[in-house]
Structures are given as C-alpha cells and as structure tokens.
Symmetry: C2
Subunit: 630 residues, 2 copies
C-alpha cells in the first residue's frame, strides 16, 4: 500500500514564501488523509517564468531556505517537489552561479538521493529552449553536467528508492520535458526503464496551458506508461505566470495512468486539489474519460481564469472597457463581467460623427444586458480641437526664417480619433474609476497591426489577442448560449459587418467594414505565425500555384478564387499584409500590452521578432514573375 | 606571402540579398588589391538578431542559395564567411530542421572542409544564451553534435588547411563566443592549438557594441594570441540589429594581433572598411594604440550611429521631439540634429499653466541654437476639456438604476497632461509632419517607471533609455564642448533642477523637481539591473548595515547619510523604488518603445522580466526589523 497525494497547487511565480506556505498546508492535509507521499509540481517553490530574477543571489538563497523548510516538514511522510538547486562551487556558462532545475525527494526530514548522482536531487535532463521557454538561459542540464564530470548521462539518471511501510519503491523521477523526449535523441524514461524497472514514474511539471496540449499530452503519456509497463503520475501546477509580454495559464490537469496507460485519475482544470489514491489499487479505479468539449469551452475556461488571476496579480479590482457596439469589445465585456462584480465594471461608448445609431444602440444594450456601469463620452469636441490646433500651429523654420503649417488627412484624423478614445478618455476614466482599461484587439488585427498605437492598441491587458476572429465569434456564441444562457451579446453585434467606424467609408449600415476578409486572412496570418515551420510569401505563392493553398492553411475551399479573381489581386493582398506583418505591426507589437496566450504560438515572448522589415526571397520573386507573366 | 583582407562590412539583418551583394563587392575589391583571402563576419549573409525568422524554411533556403553564390565567387581567392548551415536530414531539439551557426571557407568555387568534420564547414562550439543572445534557441552546437555522433568534441575541431601560392596554411577557425571560453569548461582555442599549431587564428563575430566591451576584448584576445604564439584576426560587422525591444549597434572594430599579442591593425569603429595586409609582415607594422577617450565620446558615437541607422531601418526621415526646456529632451534634440537635416527636425514645446517662463524660454533657445523647425502647441484647453468631460460624465449604474460621477485628482491631472502631450499633440504632429516622435526617457526613470504610459513613456524609439542621468549630463556637456563646439544646449538647461513641471509642486524656479536623487538613485538602480549578480533590497540593506553601500554601488561617499538621516528614511526610499521597479515599472516597460542599448544590461530582451510584483526575502525582513529596532 502506497497512498499518494497529487498536489495540484497554485504556484505564485516569484513568491517562494507564499508557495512554501501553500505546500506546508498540503503536506499537513496529506498527512491527515494518511498519505505516504505527496507530490508537488516542478519549481513549486520559486515559480517557473521569472525572467532574470534567477540572477538575484538573494532570491536563490530564499528558495533554498524555503526548500529546507519543506524538507524539515517531511516527518512521517515523503515529499517530492521541484525547486531551483544551487551549487556555489560551480558556474553556469554565463559565469553566474550554477543552477539546476531540480526534483527533490524528502522523507523524515532528510533528502533521499538518487544513486550515482553527485547531488541529493534529480537534475532536469532536457531543457526546453523554444517557444516561451528559456530553460537553457538559466539552468545547467544533466547532459552538460555529465560532460563536465566526464561520464555518460545514463550513469547519472537513476530512480529514487523510497521505503514506505517496509517496502522499497523504485520511483523514476522526471521533470516536465524529460517526458517529451522525441526530438532529443536521448530519453530519460528509457534510460530509467532500462536501468531498473521503476515501480512508478513521477513527472513533475510546470506546463503552461495551450489549446490542444492536453489531448497531445494524454496520447504521449498514455503511450509511455504502457511502454514502460508502470504507472505514470503527472503533477502540474495551476495559476498564471508570465514572461512580461505573454501571460500563460496553468491548468494543472494532474493525471495518473496505470501500467497499461489507462487514465485512472485526473485533476479538474484550474482547481486547487490534492487527489489521494493507493498506487496498488489504481488499476481498479474507473477509467477517466476526457470530456469532448467545443474549443470555445476551453478558450472560455482559460480566458476567464487568466483574466481573474491577472487582475489579482497586478492588484487591479476595477476595469473600464471601451465598447463600440462591435464584436471584440462586446466579447471582452461579457468575459470581464464573469470575473468582476457589476459595480467594478464600467463600459464606455465614445461616439464620433462616424458612429452609427446602430452600434451606439448595441453598446448600450450590451451594458444593460450585463447590468454593469455605463457611460458615454463623445470624442467629437476633442478631436475637432486637436485637428484645429495641429492645423493652425505655426511651424517656424529657424534655418531660414519662414513659417509653415501642417495639414491633417482623413487617415490621420482616423488615428486621432482612436488615440483620443484610448489615451485621453479611457486612460483618464480608468484612473478616476480606480482601475485599468482593456485592449480588445484580436489576433488577426494584432498580426498585421490593424490598430492605432496609443489608440485601440493600448490597455493594461489583451485578453483576446491570441484569438483569431473566428474564435472571437465562437466565443461570443458560447458566452450567450452556454455561459450566460441568454443573449448578453446582442445578436446584431454578432451579425453586423466588423468595422472601425473611423470614417464615412466605414458605415456599418451600408455593410462597409474592415479591410480584412477574416475567413481567409485568419488562416493566412495563422500560417505566418503558428505553423511550426513558419510560412512566408514564398510558401503561400507555391501553394497558390499548385492549388493546395486552402488545404495548407486550413480555410474553407473556394474562398481564394471568390475573393481574388486574378493572380494579381491575390498577390497584391498577400504583399500588403506581409508588409504590414513584418513592418509596422512589429513596431506596434513591441509597444502592445501583455497578451493572454491560448494558442501554441502567441505574440510576445513565444513568437520572438526583430524589427527588420519584410523580406521576399528570390524564389518568391521568380514565381511571382512567372505567375504574372511579366 | 598571404595577403588578407578583413572585411568590416555592414550586415543588414534579415536581408541575405543585400548582404550577398555587399560581399560580392568586397570580394571583387579584395581581388583587385591582390588579396589571397577575404574574411567576412559571423552570420554575414542572414544577419544575427532575427528573432524567430530562423523558423521560416524559405528564409533558410535563401541563405543557402546566397552562400552558394559566395562560394561560386571565390575564384582565384579564398573567402571565409559566416552563414547559417542547414541539415535537413536531422532535427533540432525543438523538432525543427537542424541549423548550425557555421564558418565557411571557400576557394576556387569549392568549400575547404575542416578535417574530421562530417560537414564542409566549422560549427560554432559555444553558443551564448545570456543577455540578448538566444543562440541555443536556434542552433545546434558542436558539443551537441559530438554527443549525437558519439565522439569527443575535440575530434570535430580541426583547423582548415588553405593552400595559397604553393604554401599550405593551417587556420584555426572560431566563431565569436568560441574565443571567450572562460566559463565553459572547454576551450576551442586550446583544442585547436593542441591538435596542430595553426599558423593563424580567425575569429569571425557578430558582436554588439556595449560600453567597455572593446577594452575587455582587447585584453582577452591579446592574451590568447600571445598564449597561442600565433596571429589572431578578429572580424566583426557594423550596422544595427535588434531583438524588437532592444536595439544594438555593431562597431566592427576589426583587429589583427601578432603572435605576441600586439595589436597591429584595427578597424575604425562603425566604418565600412576592408584592411588588406600581409600576414608575414604583420609584426612589422606599427602597434596600434587604443585611444583613451571619455565615456561620453563612446556614447555619442554609438548613439548617433544607432539613431541614424534605426531611422534608415524603419524608413523614417522626419522626427518630432517634444522639448520641455529640460535636459533629456534637449540632449535628444541635439543628438537628432546631428543625424537629420534641420528641415526634417521639428521641436515642439507644449506648455500648460505649470510650465515656467524659464523652461519655455530654454526650449525655444535650444531650437534656435539648432536652427531646426519649431512650434508651440499649448495643452491647457484640451486638458481642461478632458477633465471637464470626465468629471461631468454621468455613470449609470445599470444594476440599481442610480448614477455617479467621477472626480479627477491632481495626480490624475498630471498624467492627463503627459498623455495629452504625447498621444494627442506629438503623435498627431508627427503624422502630419510625416515622421515619428521620440521618447526621451533616461534609464533611471525607465527603471522605476517615473513616466506616464501613452505619455512621456511613448515614442517610436528611446535613444537615451540606456543612459543613467549622469550619463545624460555628461553627454550634454560633450555635445556642447566637443561635437558642436558651442552652447547648443543652453547652460541653464544643464544647471536647473530636473522637473516634470506637471503641478504647482514642481516649480523649477523654486528649485522643485523630480523625486529622484540622481547621484544616489542612478547607482542604486544600476545595482538592481546591471550587476552580473543582480542586487535586491537584501543586498542593499546588508551593505547599508555594514557601511559598504556607497562602495558597492559606486556612488559618491557621504551621499547616503546626507539624504537619509535615519535608517527608516533610507528603508522607506529603498522600498518605494523597489516596489516601483518590480511593479508598475515592469508594466510600463512592457509597452515602452525600443531602446538603443549601450550598457551591458539594457532593458528589454537583455534584462528579461516578468510582471510578478516586488519580493522581499525573509533575510531582508529580519534585517529590517533588526535595524529599525522593532
């Protein structure tokens, strides 16, 4: 009998004091439930996404001290947990003190060492260094340690032997990526399996949630458990952590697989739980079925959790949302209204002469449906004052004594309106209301910078900026149908053409809207950003030429021919958006608010980018010439 | 006789086409000067700081094609150059195609392979993964390759044998970090030296400029050349490259050391040159003395070059600068006036009721001294309109049918002024003028977020945000005395107290200014950001307690006692700024413009950070209690 508690704890990044307190409580609870072993996630004490906080000596010391508290608390119980481990006698390759991403096992106040290791802990072997991960920047891998010691990595990887009630269990200890070894040419699982057949594998993780990841993890872990012929336990934290630009939710989703790879236990997403079970009777439990939910359900769960915890993290209790009557701001409002009490949510409509009665009415109806606070602040007087001031300002040319004036084009006036709304009204209102204002941009707009800097591109947080437009619509319908079970987002908001309403040419009543054809551009842009091998105009044009474009990018068939009757119109559109994506949009993203990530490539610290301008390869140019018959 | 040309070329990141063209021109020139070998920098074809462009298959192909052009051009001459090398039969650890940061040697249209390597090129052994570097994210190191092949790294590292005029030269090929091996436990130099005594070492680099780096590099390279007893050639590119948030200049500074480590040849900083010399007579050349210049000279050189190339990169020809009469905006204006013709520079003063006649006069005098364009746009009418609109807006409480109003505090009104200036006036003027407006924040303000988001924190580029306030003053004096050789920045601007002039309490005529005590806070903040092991309140308080604080942080002695008569006043100040630095300032930096880096830790992609809030360790709290006698 080995009673195990899987602690799906909330880890607060950068707060070893709070995390240690949480862990001590879990340990006490587990002891009360007669657990023999309690397992915490990777980096349970420091948190995982900390930027360069790892370069603070005092922070490392603090984490070690907290680790000692946990070890001391392991009386009459075994505790497995992740923490940073420091070896002051050695250096990392950057000249700083040696740090490991480590797996500690403590029992009765002492550490239980894996055999053959020079340290009383297991060192993470595979350090992810892609997407939002920067492990290799801070931590020394087991492979590097092996090379330094002049031994094979294999010799350093051993199970931990844990004696409970007179039985000794061999436990294969893995840290997150160690269980995902396909691309590494070295499998910690396999090494442990071949060395001695562990009785159980434990994978402690700090694994950010993204769409579809759990299904993939389930396939991988189920398979490796079955291959190993041993139970496999997965422990992940909940909470949110960020890299500055990109904010991730952690859904926990703890899992216990039996020796045949059948899922027997699963932690409810985003819930603080500690499931206790007996390892021996694990196979007798009812198999857990993964519920089949629509994508919008996953998105809503991640977004509402992420928004709630982000507000908590930055200590913000009140929020202002500019609502235009359009879909993005309506979805943002309906989302925040699930997280905040109605008196802490203020919706603001900011009409100019270009806003239709239709959208003004929709904005108000939305607020009424949500029952929150609402106000209207027209921007026309201020916009006119600004245009007048700028056009009448005398520019003195001090090099020749002449003077000049500037003129404001209608395009400039559009941006003046957008900045007036955000930097003047929303920022001022938010301060007076005691909170922040949201950025409601979606991922399609963010990709090509279809937004105004210090205008609609601003805000304290972008909750929707990792959603393509079709996902925003799906979420709108899900909010009405499933979350609220009534029409909070007016159906007309879902039905009208998306439009910025910044000029006469964007009249929603005439069906005039954004220049983006979302059912096509959502998928074109996704291919630039989210494909593992990123697509460029060369790939797009090659697919276009051989008739596979719609299949490759995943949009509906027939769209391309409908919208682009000639190759020239197709190429003009492609270059227009590629120029935007690689040009001004990068400049805008550099100054954009943090984004809540749900996709497998979110802008910010995941999709890293330089402001280098658009590039067209020679192959692209040749193919273009051929297609255009030039 | 081996005639070598060191090509200090400008590399344009992400433009293999342009870089290849540049290289072909250098090759033709070198041939004309009877050079036998021309050496280009690391990643000469693709550029180095490209974000995730490395994930674009078509971009990799393009780089290979360009590399083939260079190889084909090596008729009757040998060419060494850096490029990305791709092996499509293998994978990186992220599952993407295998990429190496590679050193190619071509001669007579063919590659010259190092012995023992499975590839016809040298692979970078040491991949920097600290500061702004992300090498390990994209490239597979020679060490990993050795492990994959099951051989020792040593067996893969061999000199290249180059036959010229019937003599075979053994050339030790190194890529940048391979020459800086102190913290790696493996020295490519040493391995090459022990394998066979190379006749010459060649280090091709793409090494961003930072203050003091050249002096350190000179010490390191001089010493390793002497140790090896062989000439050592260093080839670096010029230009600018960026990681989005952080923009780096590359100064070239090519160098040739003789076998005794004496510097015999040195490339002028930031100049496109190709020095040709005979390897055999290198020791006969006059030793090059490194000029002893003040720090401000280095800063001015890097900043003016960086600003010029950044404008070129983003295609911006005209610039608007908001000038307050204060030091930061004056220095920015004097800097941009060296880069742009006077008709392309527009200075704007934007007074409110709080701006003194003193500073308004200084702003105008600055513009007159620079002889550029100048205008005045008062913000008072707009600020009053905004405050009135916000205070009079009826907030409907749709949950209970009541209404409310908001009130604007004087602190909120300060931010309204700052946003009015930047997001309303400067952004509007810049668009109408056909350019962008600058952010003039310095590093001290940036560290603690002493700025308003969408206000003075905004702009297209922050040229001064990596300079501490004392460096801004030094640069001001240097601009007047050495660059302009006349008082362009009015002496009074240098002499008055720095002040935001956003309220009655910030009256420069009464000597009332910023809450920052720059001679102390510059150095306190630097310890948070720039120390290799970052300081935190715990370190600061320990140094304070043992009397070593001023020495540790490098400020003038006596300052701490003068400004903080009691431990409580010291601790209050420390916590105030630490809270700001780790709190709201992070949120502001996330949305700040790109910064031109000159220090060894610039904000952005170098100093990576998460928005996790301030942390105080248990040791700090205990020491604080002890000091305060609580």
């Amino acid at each position: 009998m080995l009673q195990i508690a899987l602690a799906q704890m909330r880890v607060v990044p950068g707060r070893p004091d709070r995390n240690t307190e949480t862990m001590l409580k879990y340990i006490a609870d587990a002891r009360q439930q007669n657990a023999d072993l309690v397992i915490f996630p990777e980096m349970a004490i420091p948190g995982y996404l900390l930027g360069d906080t790892w370069e603070q000596t005092s922070f490392l010391e603090e984490c070690e001290t907290c680790g000692e508290e946990i070890i001391a608390a392991s009386k009459n119980i075994a505790v497995m947990f992740g923490n940073v481990a420091v070896d002051r006698s050695k250096k990392n390759n950057d000249g700083r003190v040696r740090k490991y991403n480590a797996f500690f096992t403590a029992q009765d106040g002492r550490l239980v060492s894996p055999e053959g290791m020079p340290y009383p802990f297991t060192v993470k072997t595979l350090l992810p260094n892609y997407r939002e991960f920067d492990d290799a920047r801070h931590f020394f891998s087991l492979q590097k340690l092996a090379r330094e010691l002049g031994v094979a990595t294999e010799s350093l990887l051993s199970p931990v032997h844990l004696a409970v009630h007179g039985t000794t269990y061999s436990v294969g200890c893995l840290l997150c990526e160690d269980g995902w070894s396909d691309d590494y040419g070295l499998s910690p699982m396999k090494i442990l399996r071949e060395k001695e057949r562990p009785d159980v594998f434990v994978n402690i993780s700090s694994s950010p949630y993204t769409l579809g990841k759990n299904a993939k993890r389930h396939r991988v872990f189920s398979q490796i458990a079955a291959e190993a012929g041993a139970p496999f336990l997965y422990v992940n934290n909940i909470g949110i952590q960020n890299n500055g630009k990109t904010v991730y939710t952690f859904d926990g989703a703890n899992a216990a697989y039996d020796a045949h790879g059948v899922l027997r236990l699963s932690g409810a997403p985003y819930a603080e739980t500690a499931q206790v079970f007996d390892l021996e009777t694990l196979p007798d439990r009812k198999p857990v079925a993964i519920p089949d939910e629509p994508e919008a359900a996953h998105i809503f769960r991640a977004l509402s959790y992420g928004v709630r915890l982000f507000l908590e993290t930055i200590g913000m209790k009140r929020v202002v949302i500019g609502v235009s009557g359009g879909i993005d701001s309506a979805v943002a409002a309906a989302l925040y209204a699930r997280v905040l009490p109605p008196e802490n949510l203020l919706l603001v409509n900011m009409p100019s002469v270009y806003n239709s009665e239709t959208t003004k009415g929709l904005a108000r109806r939305l607020a009424e449906n949500l029952g929150c606070r609402y106000t209207t602040v027209p921007i026309q007087p201020s916009v006119e004052l600004t245009i007048g001031q700028l056009e009448n300002a005398t520019i003195e040319n001090l090099f020749d004594g002449t003077t000049d004036r500037l003129s404001i084009s209608s395009f400039m006036a559009e941006n003046i309106q957008a900045r007036d709304r955000s930097s003047r009204v929303l920022a001022g209102l938010a301060a007076a209301f005691g909170g922040g204002f949201t950025c409601n941009a979606n991922k399609a707009e963010t990709t090509v910078g279809y937004s105004t800097l210090y205008g609609d591109q601003s805000g304290f947080f972008s909750a929707l900026a990792d959603l393509w437009k079709y996902q925003v619509y799906d979420l709108a319908r899900y909010l009405n149908e499933t979350v609220y079970k009534r029409e909070v987002i007016p159906q007309e908001t879902i039905d009208i053409v998306p439009s910025a309403e910044l000029s006469d040419a964007q009249d929603v009543d005439k069906g005039q809207g954004d220049p983006l054809i979302y059912p096509y551009h959502d998928f074109l842009f996704r291919s630039f950003v989210e494909r593992w091998q990123k697509a460029t105009p060369q790939d797009i044009l090659e697919w276009y030429a051989d008739g596979t474009l719609e299949k490759e990018i995943g949009c509906a068939p027939g769209l391309v021919r409908n919208h682009f009757p000639t190759p020239k119109s197709f190429i003009d559109d492609l270059e227009r958006w590629w120029n935007q994506f690689s040009g001004l949009a990068v400049a805008k993203r550099i100054q954009a608010p943090p984004i809540l990530a749900v996709s497998r490539r979110a802008f910010g610290f995941d999709h890293r980018e330089s402001q280098n301008g658009p590039y067209y390869t020679k192959k692209y140019k040749a193919l273009k010439t051929k297609i255009l018959g030039e």
